[in-house]
Symmetry: none
Subunit: 298 residues, 2 copies
């Protein structure tokens, strides 16, 4: 039930970053070479790439498999495609890290660029099958419980707020103990969602496990599709992982990525349950209108 099986044409760099942590040293060398110079690597045979990375053919093939391709041949084709896209596409990028002495205008530009990149990577890497299944489960759910702590806790709340606005019963939990207590009450027909970037946050795995074992449909939103949390997930939605730096904690880009996924879930559910969602949206909008004072101008 792992990541997507579709060959990723443009999302390769993202996939490399996502899977890199679960790779062995040699495989990382191969993945790095491939992500760093797609065009150059596309010109090489298995043996050539093995030599260039100081590894063996077997390792190259293994890496290709891990990245989701049937074998090296297919990875090579994807590489050629990627190279062509880069060629025709825009200039590489100004991907420099944020430095302590960057002027504010640079900070803004770099942050905006990085988040845009994260969005593109996430969209490209999302498995539509998994997403569809998750939307289906959510649309039919009696109630939805969402677990997340810290930055992911905010994403959980965001989703809960949105689902509530279209008439679904949804709650977010940040307190690990209460989350487990809550998970115990779930059963078949309910949905539990765990949001965790690392996928190995014990406080979040536990409630999902409990929900899973009580028969609820479980969904994991994580940046690590091979992490512990996925053992208890019926559906896995992978968020992208951008490089981080001292001044740019991982939480920043993972949050952007998670929010996009959550938005997709929301819109998907809203589509599926349009008959009830539309009036509910209108009603909640109406109810809040009086809380706003008249505008100053215009």
């Amino acid at each position: 039930m792992g990541g997507s099986q579709a060959p990723a044409p443009a999302a390769l760099a993202a996939k490399v970053r996502t899977l890199a942590p679960s790779m062995t040293r040699s495989m990382q060398r191969v993945a790095e070479a491939v992500a760093g110079d797609p065009a150059g690597c596309a010109a090489l045979t298995v043996t050539g790439l093995a030599e260039r990375t100081g590894t063996s053919e077997a390792t190259v093939v293994r890496t290709a498999r891990l990245l989701g391709y049937p074998g090296y041949r297919d990875l090579r084709l994807a590489l050629a495609g990627l190279a062509a896209q880069q060629q025709s596409g825009r200039a590489p990028a100004v991907t420099a890290d944020i430095a302590v002495d960057d002027p504010l205008s640079d900070v803004v530009a770099k942050l905006a660029y990085d988040e845009q990149q994260t969005l593109a990577d996430t969209a490209a890497g999302l498995d539509m099958t998994q997403l569809g299944a998750a939307v289906t489960a959510l649309s039919a759910a009696r109630r939805v419980e969402i677990y997340g702590v810290a930055a992911s806790g905010l994403v959980a709340q965001d989703l809960a707020q949105k689902l509530l606005r279209i008439g679904h019963i949804a709650h977010a939990h940040s307190d690990p103990h209460l989350a487990v207590t809550n998970a115990v009450t779930l059963r078949s027909g309910d949905v539990a969602i765990a949001i965790t970037h690392s996928g190995s946050t014990g406080d979040i795995i536990e409630p999902l496990r409990v929900a899973f074992e009580h028969g609820a449909t479980t969904i994991a939103v994580t940046g690590r599709p091979d992490s512990p949390v996925t053992q208890y997930a019926d559906h896995i939605l992978t968020t992208s992982t951008a490089r981080e730096s001292e001044l740019r904690p991982a939480a920043m880009s993972s949050r952007t990525s998670q929010l996009l996924v959550v938005d997709c879930l929301f819109v998907g559910v809203a589509q599926r349950t349009y008959e009830t969602a539309a009036p509910a949206l209108a009603a909640s909008y109406e109810a809040l209108a009086h809380r706003h004072s008249p505008r100053t101008t215009r």
Copy 2:
């Protein structure tokens, strides 16, 4: 003109037309198939393409040679590149609104595109002078209080979490009454931030007004620089407003925009107070490490 022996990436169709007259019948069939469906042919092996065109492997190789490639392998690579280019070329048709019957893949593409657009707009529209002043005030603040409700409440919490992690005293408030109570205790040297998209949410204006009148430095993060909330704001940071639709509430893009602004504030403050921020970041990272269970692999 035609680069005779150089592998043609995009000009393949043209080359086929140019060379077609000098081809034999079987070769023309192959060339035609290749030019007509690059993506499909890239997926085929020599034998496969030979069968599909009703010819033999030898003919396929001969055709590849005639088109300027060393062999079929290289033609296939070029084909993959061409396919990828075509693919990406017809992408930018996602500017339409999200419809009820859009397939999920369109939903994802449109959402990602819209959020990217929002980010670009926000970055372009940010007033660096105001941002700089806000960062200066925050860096020197004794404590920071942040007010926001609903979706903006989550942004407020996000900022509070981040500032806490770099050793600043910061709290987010969603409860209007508690917010006002809290604002009363502020004075010169403290900073209050109001986050509201409309700029006319009474529950948020009120605490900012109180903070303003008690001498605190006040910052407004709003999408409406002419709205009531700005009367009480020393510094105004403008977020961008994307068009919204029934299935895409305003909260979605305003949140993206607000988060970017908040991230800029955070990084700005982290830069200015690097001496204390860096160790604090490292310490909080360290403290959370034990909450993560060991990885599945490695």
